[in-house]
């Protein structure tokens, strides 16, 4: 073979190797390089970090900022709810299982939109049936109203029967907050656990 051909062959091979390596590096670091998007509605990260103070089991005061350093999944619901609330908590439990060891960097929080019936002890006991790591919070009706408003969560009493007492219509989305306290994603109701789990790296990215 002529010298030129040899040179070109080697050069071609080297170029190919370089591209292959670059492609590999890119795909492995896709998310940390800033690519990838959430499987929910991305929220404005430039807004200030969120915080609130509510009450957990045993009358303990809990601030949302206590969980900085972890990703927080926030859900608003109530105990009487037989379908959508247990379903969502089950999906969040599934999400924790899928992300494996990263679950240590996650906190699931449920806030009751039924403060008259859901005391902090009761709502906390309720969520812990799904996963012992979940935290349930309640407060006075005014406190709940103010927190719900801050997060754009709607809730309203509806007439029920003598069997149930009143029912509550409520926003059933899950809000995901990053470790710096910024609201990052809104997951629409009935989003599956595996779908939320797929976003964990993006959510945890510093």
């Amino acid at each position: 073979m002529s010298r030129i051909k040899v040179v070109f062959s080697v050069a071609g091979f080297v170029l190919f190797a370089l591209f292959a390596f670059a492609g590999y590096t890119l795909t492995q670091n896709w998310i940390s390089l800033g690519f990838g998007s959430f499987h929910g509605d991305a929220l404005d990260v430039s807004k200030p970090p969120v915080d609130f103070t509510l009450t957990s089991a045993g009358g303990k005061e809990v601030n949302l900022r206590d969980f900085r350093g972890k990703a927080v999944y926030l859900y608003f619901g109530y105990r009487l709810c037989p379908d959508i609330c247990p379903m969502t908590l089950t999906q969040l439990k599934d999400m924790m299982a899928v992300i494996g060891p990263k679950a240590d960097l996650v906190q699931v929080v449920m806030v009751s939109v039924d403060p008259e019936r859901d005391t902090p002890d009761l709502i906390d006991e309720f969520v812990k049936r799904f996963d012992k790591r979940f935290i349930g919070l309640s407060g006075t009706p005014d406190e709940i109203a103010s927190v719900a408003k801050e997060f754009g969560i709607f809730y309203q009493k509806q007439p029920g029967s003598a069997n149930t007492g009143y029912l509550i219509s409520h926003s059933a989305s899950v809000l995901a907050i990053d470790p710096n306290g910024h609201l990052r994603v809104l997951y629409h109701p009935q989003t599956e656990g595996v779908t939320m789990a797929a976003d964990i790296d993006l959510l945890l990215r510093p």
Binding site: D83, T90, R129, F154, A162, T164, G165, Q190
Partner: protein, 190 residues
């Protein structure tokens, strides 16, 4: 003469066989055109402090704690709940097929797993979920209705026992035109 008899006999046997077969494969009621499949109940716990089974409520030693208002306004619950004054709930889901030419409707249901049972539907508007009781769930002629999460469901109110995944729950469904049907539902987490 013999031939005629045997033909009648054959016809009679066929009729009996067909009638017999049509009763199989559908849930219970003789001659029912309805078939219930995939019945399941969401796992759930009794209300805190409830005594299992036919519910004599005892004032248990459950500390209310917290700064939340212990449900003062909880109204006409009767003896549904316990000292936390709110009944534990769950939901039952299934597919009801109607192979008949006449529409039918699920009017009510009963189970020993709950003190009261209601039929409910849900609607979602801008991510806001609203649940409401309905008087009946229609099953179209030659059609079916699916009771599933986020839609129609049978609401179990005031659980008389814990429902754990793997348990079974018997549900009696009362229909407008096809009598009552009892199904065995599996308890599942999802």
């Amino acid at each position: 003469m013999f031939r005629k008899t045997s033909r009648w006999l054959l016809a009679a046997m066929t009729l009996v066989a067909v009638a017999g077969l049509s009763a199989c494969g559908s849930a219970a009621a003789t001659g029912s055109k309805l078939e219930v499949t995939g019945a399941w109940v969401r796992s759930a716990s009794m209300a805190a402090g409830t005594q299992a089974s036919m519910g004599t409520q005892e004032a248990g030693g459950m500390s209310m704690g917290g700064t939340g208002t212990p449900a003062a306004g909880s109204t006409a619950m009767g003896n549904m709940g316990t000292m936390d004054t709110e009944p534990a709930t769950s939901a039952a889901y299934m597919v009801i097929k109607n192979s008949g030419g006449q529409p039918d409707a699920l009017m009510s249901a009963k189970t020993d797993a709950a003190k009261a049972v209601e039929l409910h539907n849900m609607k979602m508007d801008n991510d806001v979920m609203t649940m409401f009781q309905v008087p009946q769930i229609d099953i179209p002629a030659n059609g079916q209705v699916e009771l599933s999460s986020g839609g129609y469901h049978i609401m179990l109110i005031g659980l008389t026992r814990d429902l754990k995944a793997g348990d079974k729950v018997m549900l009696t469904l009362n229909f407008q035109n096809n009598g009552s049907v009892t199904v065995e539902a599996d308890v599942r987490d999802q």
